[in-house]
Symmetry: C2
Subunit: 707 residues, 2 copies
């Protein structure tokens, strides 16, 4: 039984997951048990009948759960589909995709993830838990939810971009901390994978968050130790506490470990590549409508059920070891020796892996002193199955994590390699499984410190540290030669304009003037209401330069930058002037600071909702007091790479470009995130693309959809 007891909302999630799963597994086990008991007295048709009956129950319950998850996701909150980590990562980079952190997404994510994990699909729960944590944090960051009556007054202090970003970072750390009981790993995950901006204070806050998670987990374990938790089991801080004894390894063990890392890196990048291709195909199908989305989910569910129920027939039964530390065969609970359709005193090793929760499968693979338990063919079949299923399961329209599937796949790969190496090495097969999981995770997710600490916290053995470090470094290095981090690739498929830290080499050859584009919409310091409405209605820009006609200069002067949200707030208050005069600080009389606070993600005011009379349209607004009078600026001859550094490091949304020679207009344009996207730049300057094949892709955007 999984020993998870995650905090806050996700707690319900898991406590539901496990009863469902175990109920289902128990039904399988009891069915097969009946079948086998029956085999001794009934004719063979009866056994066949029982077997098909079991399969029917299994696949139908899986299908029902998948269907439920898919329907709520597709109809209530499509943003809840998938892992959620790429979306949160994009949010922390500054991309406000609609609905990804709403309360609706939160609920669908929790319920859908329970259903999806229970439906025997090879999907994880770590990603959904990160998303859940982030959603809860975002809820705090927007002052609760007015629509659902969940508001607190003191939350208004967090209603700004930076605090909301910090809260979401802490929420994602809490998600990993809860999913793997790895508080330090959670902090590092948030730091290495999620956050785009980081500062020392945030490190401390994230640490505080995960400490609270750890303490709540520990308190729940205290309760569970007294046996009051039912199916939660007896609890325990470490998930896969399989290596608490000393592990000894020597320099001679380094070459196989290196090999494990290299192959893991290649497999991981291959995995990423296939996953992205499958996602793109899914996207093409999904574009046709909601029905197609749900159809794919159901197909995958049936495919998974068939595979899981059929594959154990391929391997032969093993006789139980005489010195087994647990019951053999085991029935009706997790364990290393599942009976499936074997005669008494025998067990089916593939069934032992398949008819278990993913957590227990990993525990079985990681376990030591079980070198003779699994057959080579079993391990190969299981590895290939996991590899394929996890790729095809990810893209369906349901909450689905990647972390655990990748870990299971990696563990089976590692154990397979360990069995191939056999007695040549000194390490146990279980240790190879741990290292295999590390290498595959490293090859796919490309994290280093955080993965290392998460695996250490999972296995509870610091002596493994040097080996895990080596494996992670090798696999990451190898995989980086082929493609990117799996979450970054998914973000790219989803089309999020993620801003990288480093400038691409060709950006050094371009100046800001080369990419800044379009006719610029300007406001005057004192502007007619009608003009403002026109500008807001005809463009979708979020920031506008404000200029002043200077009396002692022939050309107008740049006064500052005003945000669309602030213009709308001004229009909404209707504190207009009859004549074009400057108001000064007096202008704030009509406004409270709350009017300009950052709105929640879903309830931004729209210009279309504001109704103005013709008379009002002829009146004036003094924008000076509401304008950011000293925005960051760059000259148009600055290299694009240098402008990117300013834009990225300071965390801007708009960067004003001013002319180097002051005789022209006071502002050349505004750089936004989209102007730094490689697709945009290379679209403007196709000659910069090195390879001819890639150049074709930019000239014919349709090709981009699949390749």
């Amino acid at each position: 039984m999984s020993e998870d007891a995650p905090p806050f909302q996700t707690q319900d999630h898991d406590s539901l997951t496990i009863p469902l799963l175990s109920h289902q597994q128990r039904s399988i086990n009891s069915t097969s048990q009946v079948a086998i008991v029956g085999a001794n007295v009934c004719p063979i048709e009866s056994l066949d009948y029982e077997y098909w009956m079991a399969f029917l129950v299994f696949s139908l319950s899986n299908l029902a759960l998948t269907l439920f998850a898919a329907i709520i996701t597709a109809f209530i909150s499509p943003a809840a589909a998938g892992s959620g980590i790429p979306e949160v990562k994009a949010y922390l980079n500054g991309v406000d995709a609609p609905g990804i952190l709403s309360i609706r997404t939160l609920i669908v994510k929790i319920v859908g993830s329970i259903a999806a994990v229970s439906s025997s699909l090879l999907v994880g729960k770590a990603g959904p838990m990160v998303h859940t944590g982030s959603c809860i944090a975002a809820l705090f960051g927007q002052g609760g939810s007015r629509r659902y009556g969940l508001t607190w007054k003191w939350l208004r202090f967090f209603k700004n971009d930076r605090d909301r970003r910090d809260l979401v970072t802490c929420g994602s750390a809490a998600g990993i901390a809860a999913a793997f009981r790895a508080p330090v790993g959670g902090v590092l995950f948030a730091l290495e994978e999620m956050a785009s901006w980081w500062r020392s204070a945030l490190l401390w806050r994230a640490f505080f968050t995960t400490a609270v998670v750890a303490i709540i987990l520990r308190a729940l374990i205290d309760v569970c130790l007294s046996g009051k938790c039912g199916l939660f089991g007896k609890g325990g801080l470490i998930m896969f506490d399989v290596y608490s004894a000393n592990v000894s390894y020597h320099l001679a063990d380094v070459p196989p470990v290196l090999a494990l890392g290299v192959i893991g890196g290649i497999l991981g990048s291959f995995y990423n590549c296939l996953l992205v291709k499958v996602l793109k195909v899914y996207n093409l199908v999904n574009e046709k409508g909601t029905f197609y989305k749900i159809f794919i989910a159901c197909t995958i569910s049936i495919f998974t059920s068939c595979l899981l129920f059929g594959l154990p027939w391929l391997v032969s039964c093993q006789s139980c070891p005489s010195d087994a530390s647990e019951d053999c065969p085991t029935i009706g609970r997790s364990g290393n020796y599942k009976k499936f359709q074997c005669p008494p005193g025998h067990y089916n090793d593939l069934a032992s892996l398949i008819f278990n929760t993913n957590d227990d499968a990993i525990r079985n693979l990681f376990s030591k002193n079980t070198d003779s338990e699994f057959q080579l063919s079993t391990m190969l079949i299981f590895f290939v199955t996991c590899f394929i299923l996890s790729i095809f399961s990810y893209g369906i329209v349901a909450p689905a994590g990647l972390f655990v599937p990748v870990m299971v796949t990696g563990a089976s790969y590692g154990r397979f390699i360990g069995m191939l190496i056999g007695s040549w090495g000194n390490l146990s097969h279980g240790l190879y499984a741990v290292l295999g999981a590390a290498s595959f995770l490293g090859g796919s997710m490309r994290m280093t410190v955080s993965l290392c600490v998460i695996i250490l916290e999972l296995t509870n053995n610091l002596l493994l540290l040097p080996l895990i470090m080596v494996v992670l470094l090798v696999s990451k290095t190898v995989a980086d030669a082929f493609n990117g981090n799996v979450y970054d690739l998914i973000m790219k498929v989803k089309g999020f304009p993620y801003l990288e830290t480093h400038a691409e080499p060709y950006m050094r050859q371009l100046t800001v003037a080369d990419v800044v584009s379009g006719p610029l919409q300007l406001c005057h310091g004192i502007e007619k209401v009608g003009n403002i409405v026109h500008i807001l209605k005809t463009t979708m820009h979020h920031g506008f330069p404000v200029i002043d006609e200077s009396p002692h200069s022939e050309s107008p002067v740049l006064y500052g930058l005003i945000l669309r949200a602030h213009l709308i707030a001004l229009l909404k208050k209707k504190a207009f002037l009859c004549t074009p005069v400057q108001l000064g600080a007096d202008a704030f009389r009509h406004f409270s600071s709350d009017d300009f606070a950052k709105k929640g993600l879903g309830n931004v005011d729209k210009i279309e909702d504001i109704e103005l009379t013709d008379e009002e349209m002829e009146m004036f607004l003094d924008l000076h007091p509401f304008t950011n009078a000293s925005p960051y600026t760059v000259v148009d001859t600055m290299s694009l790479a240098k402008a990117l550094i300013l834009f990225r490091e300071v965390g801007l949304r708009h960067l004003l470009v001013i002319p180097k020679i002051s005789s022209r207009a006071p502002v050349v344009g505004i750089l936004t995130r989209h102007d730094f996207m490689p697709e945009h730049i290379l679209g403007l300057h196709p000659s910069l693309v090195r390879s001819r094949w890639k150049r074709l892709r930019f000239q014919f955007p349709l090709l981009l959809k699949i390749f």
Copy 2:
């Protein structure tokens, strides 16, 4: 025996430390042994004589070692004194203090640290190892050392600010990784405490560095396991592997743990406060000359010897426990039961702590199932001794770390509290010692994640994680209410202009124009050599604005910013023009990229070294091709806090201030790091200082020296 096997140079360091220490200790032990054996047959005067003889040997050898460390530090490289962590931290923030990363400092640091640690002073080695690692890294970052013939061609790629900074960060991570065998802790230390700028790629590189450290340590341990290491012992990855068994604790144990955290925080901030006061007094004495510096060091050494040799007399002898797992009393090696002057079958518990390496003292304090081994009075005496000695030992003119002394002090404090709580709590005294060390470290150094991981890696028990997290969070929170991080305070005493991430509240009330000062030195695009030499000789600025007289504008136009180093490189090449004409790209003909590469810290060219004839002084230089034509700029009406964000996040050294209204000169001034220092700003605007007492300090700078 300490089980350290740090990598690279520091290896010699430790391998020397231990023989010296043990030799010395053995001499003490054997002397006292002789004395006691003699006591059975000789009259009492003989025992007295032997005791004084032992004291003489002990204190003289201590004095000699201290003197050696102090002399080489004072005469060869004063920058090697102290921990080195504040200096490296300041360097990573952008402060190039002279000589702190030179090869000379490196050698003095290694040799001096060995002598200082061996001389029974309560000084640590973690700080010096961080400094050592950083010096080695900086050596790579400046392309080796030409003076000592250590150069490699490929190192020239690192000759720039950013790569050098990254290398030094990795070096400091390696230092902690080697000192505590904590590779993950090392990375986190570098991230949380040292680095001012951080990016994902750097995380990976630091992880790679510490992985190499971990692997080399592991390989050395493999060698040591075969018994070929002599005094290194048998090795083992974890330093204080005292808690590998299960530790159980419950919610009822939380209140004492919280109390431990609160008191630890108060003690830690008090410790910081005292340390800074003592440092300021030392600084006043040190200003009088080198003799005084060495005198202080010798005084502290004699004081320490007296204290260490005298204190064990204060406590009574304990009879050996019958079920001791090791020899009792132990003679001639580390252990929990030192005989000192006790009768056979007895041991002196204070001597067990004092006549051991700091590592072994910590191990003794952390050990479990030894609740009856130490007396309450012993623990109190030891705590007070460590507290005082570590404060007075830090400021002497010798390499001296803070980490281990703080840890010993904290462990004794924790164990003392544990003994006070006694049977009311369920935790063992050893566990209280671990938590006490954590709380005192947290209260003094204010790190969170990194300290947590370092302690976990030291104690090798992940089950302690929630407790350690709670203690660290509480102690840091409490201590933050009183003063800052110990390293930041030391930096302030040393006068490094460290740039904080966050802006002080009063910076929001000021504009850039309020702090930018002084008559500005300008260069023209095509400038007379004589003028350049004059500007360079009369100012110490490192950057100069370059302006152009524009033909179609009455006022001159800002062209860009040129660095002092580049002007000197231009003057050195003497590629002057006879007439003021613009050259264009042709100008680069005379130069290679290496001419403008960042020089090593010690060998920057000076303007005084360049000799020019009167004829050359009348010639011209075209500065355009060598000028940064698009420097980052801000307008003079920008809030100072906003300018600080740009300055700090992008990592600038010079920030050009341009006028908001373009009718005046094209540039108002240059902001440098010093303009953002609170002392500078509050000196210009004393009315901003809240408290009257503090305002006085800024008006009478002499008061600042001590208070």
